[in-house]
Amino acid sequence: MNLKTINADIVAGIILLIISAISYNMASGFDNPDAALWPKAVIILIVIFTALVMANGFKKMKENTEAKEADFTKAIAPVLTLAAITLYAVLMAHAGFFIATAIFCPLSMYALGQRNWLALIGVTAGLNLFVYVLFVMQLELQMP
């Protein structure tokens, strides 16, 4: 079976079944059995619905009618964006919001094709100023 042609419902189903098994096992170890009642009932529901979704996925795979497949090659741009967002958050935690934003904002604008230098500088400065006025001056938020 080619990985590129596996139906997305089946991939999601396998992941959910693994998470359900781990969650159920963890619930069985709760100090008070009453605390495990609701999570266990919900996990059983998840397993039932997952089985139905997977059965449908297998059916579609057999009939070859499912257009949406787990094609991982199309995911490069979102993966890069996600990596950039995560880096930005890490930078925010260590260098602070304003420095992180002063780096992230113009770089991401440039990466998305914005070449107007006035926009790159103006938007970054405007955004930082807006956040400073609202969150620091008005709401007195302790910024990261």
Binding site: L45, M92, F97, L112
Partner: protein, 502 residues
């Protein structure tokens, strides 16, 4: 009495409080992560020096305007300003993509104002008798109202009902993370202090609805220098309000959604989040244009907005009569009332009637003012859809992350938002419903608490306990109807079609 109320309302302090409350509430509401509750809590100390009427009118105006302001970013950027606007994003954003953003914002302002105004009238007229319902409301009813809320998943499931139900159940499981309120057991916290109070709603919402959109927009990075309108070959549109001939189409919708919102508001612990979903579900079931729902339906949008704003007045009913806050914001307003010597109860409507009715009239007025303010700014704010993605996305993202951070001042919430962003992106790509997951997350803790406590209260006879409570019977009937109605109506439609063909 009328003259006193009028002169109280026309005083400069009250008018300033009204305008500051409406405009400020709208701005705060439009910012993701900043809720009305936050603004009210922050402004509470400012009200010390104000008269009780001006102070309470301002706080209540913020409450209702923040819900409305949240719809602006939900419609134009797919970023619900408050959790109560999540349903609005589902219908509003597709309308914006079709070039009907102005019309959607206009409809949102109008529906919010109408919903809020009807709830204010209900609050003025029927507060004490309606509040008696709250007294009869206990854990079994709380559990059933959550289950009733979950039946809405049928309307949110998107292309696959099974996937919608699956995501609803996943939301319920995610809601169990944290310290169990009843037993005190740490569940799925992995030893982390950050997870002890569970997953925060706002970062999850920001992730599922905003960051997921940022990710999917970046997929189309080659067109990033084009605005939303250019990418969808749409214009801004010039129509803002429904024409007089269109009003009857929405009239029943507004009234029913407002009544739904008021009832949900009265019930403790429910709040605007649930009010908007149930109103949306009711509108979809009654609509002759069900195919439009999920693809940009003005009817759906009108229902969400009338529903969530009607919750505001509804939540004030048990608060002002029985000291029971129907929502977290109402609890903060209760603090504001007590600061100004207004103790909820019968005296509020007798000894302090002048003050109380002036506040309530001010609340009604704030909903009308909100429509005008909203419509006045609508023409300008919709221009955000003309901004290219190469500028919009790098601005929306920092605002979303700082909004997530602002809830608890915790970087952990920022990482939660990013995680849900990825989850939402993948879910959207493979037709798993994000709104269904959010609904499970919203209702999970209320449902569990209601079920587990009623299990103790029933002393082993849960069936007898539930069937012996009149409100439970009504709620159970509503749940059965809510599940059965789509099946029955589709059978009827099929039969009608068969008869036509024959």
């Amino acid at each position: 009495m009328f003259e006193t109320v009028l002169s109280n309302l026309m005083s400069t302090n009250v008018l300033i409080g009204l305008v500051v409350g409406v405009v400020g509430g709208m701005v705060v509401g439009a910012m993701p992560g900043l809720s009305g509750a936050m603004a009210i809590a922050l402004l509470l100390p400012v009200t010390y020096s104000m008269s009780p009427i001006a102070a309470l009118v301002m706080l209540m105006a913020i409450y209702t305007s923040a819900m409305t302001g949240g719809s602006i970013s939900a419609i134009l950027l797919h970023t619900p300003g408050t959790p109560a606007n999540a349903a609005t994003a589902m219908e509003g954003y597709p309308l914006t993509k079709k070039g009907r953003g102005l019309e959607a914002v206009g409809m949102s302002m109008l529906s919010s104002g109408i919903g809020g105004f009807i709830s204010a009238v209900a609050l003025l007229l029927i507060a004490p008798p309606l509040a008696m319902i709250s007294l009869k409301f206990s854990e079994p009813e709380s559990f059933l109202i959550s289950i009733f809320g979950l039946t809405v998943i049928g309307s949110l499931a998107g292309k696959s009902m099974t996937k919608g139900l699956l995501m609803g159940a996943v939301g319920l499981l995610l809601a169990t993370i944290g310290v169990d309120n009843i037993t005190g057991v740490h569940r799925y916290t992995f030893g982390s202090d950050n997870l002890m109070s569970g997953l925060q709603m706002v970062p999850a919402l920001i992730g599922l609805f905003t960051i997921s959109v940022v990710l999917s927009n970046c997929e189309d990075y080659k067109n990033a220098n084009k605005s939303l309108l250019e990418r969808h070959n749409a214009t801004l549109g010039t129509k803002m309000l429904p024409t007089l001939s269109e009003v009857p189409r929405y009239l029943v919708n507004w009234i029913v959604s407002s009544v739904v919102g008021i009832i949900v508001g009265i019930l403790p612990g429910a709040g605007g989040n649930i009010g908007s979903w149930i109103a949306y579900d009711q509108a979809k079931k009654r609509s002759k244009h069900q195919e439009e729902f999920g693809n940009g339906s003005l009817e759906g949008l009108a229902a969400c907005e009338a529903g969530n704003n009607a919750v505001t007045g509804g939540a004030m009913i048990p608060l002002m009569t029985l000291s029971i806050p129907g929502s977290p914001v109402a609890a903060i307003i209760l603090g504001g009332m007590l600061i100004h010597g207004l103790v909820p109860g019968s005296k509020l409507f007798t000894d302090q009637a002048d003050i109380t009715y002036s506040i309530l009239a001010g609340f009604a007025l704030s909903n009308i003012l909100m429509i005008f303010v909203g419509l006045a700014i609508a023409k300008y704010v919709v221009n955000v859809t003309r901004i290219p993605n190469s500028i919009l996305m790098p601005v929306v993202l920092p605002l979303s992350l700082i909004g997530s951070y602002a809830i608890n001042g915790s970087m952990f919430d920022v990482y939660v938002a990013i995680f849900f962003g990825l989850l939402g992106f993948l879910m959207d790509k493979y037709d798993f419903s994000s709104p269904a997951l959010i609904l499970g997350l919203i209702l999970g803790s209320t449902a569990e608490r209601g079920l587990m406590l009623s299990r103790v209260m029933s002393r082993g006879d849960m069936v007898g306990y539930y069937f012996g409570r009149p409100i439970c019977l009504i709620l159970m009937a509503l749940i059965v109807m809510s599940i059965a109605w789509p099946i029955i109506s589709s059978r009827f439609a099929k039969k009608k079609q068969e008869n036509k063909e024959a």
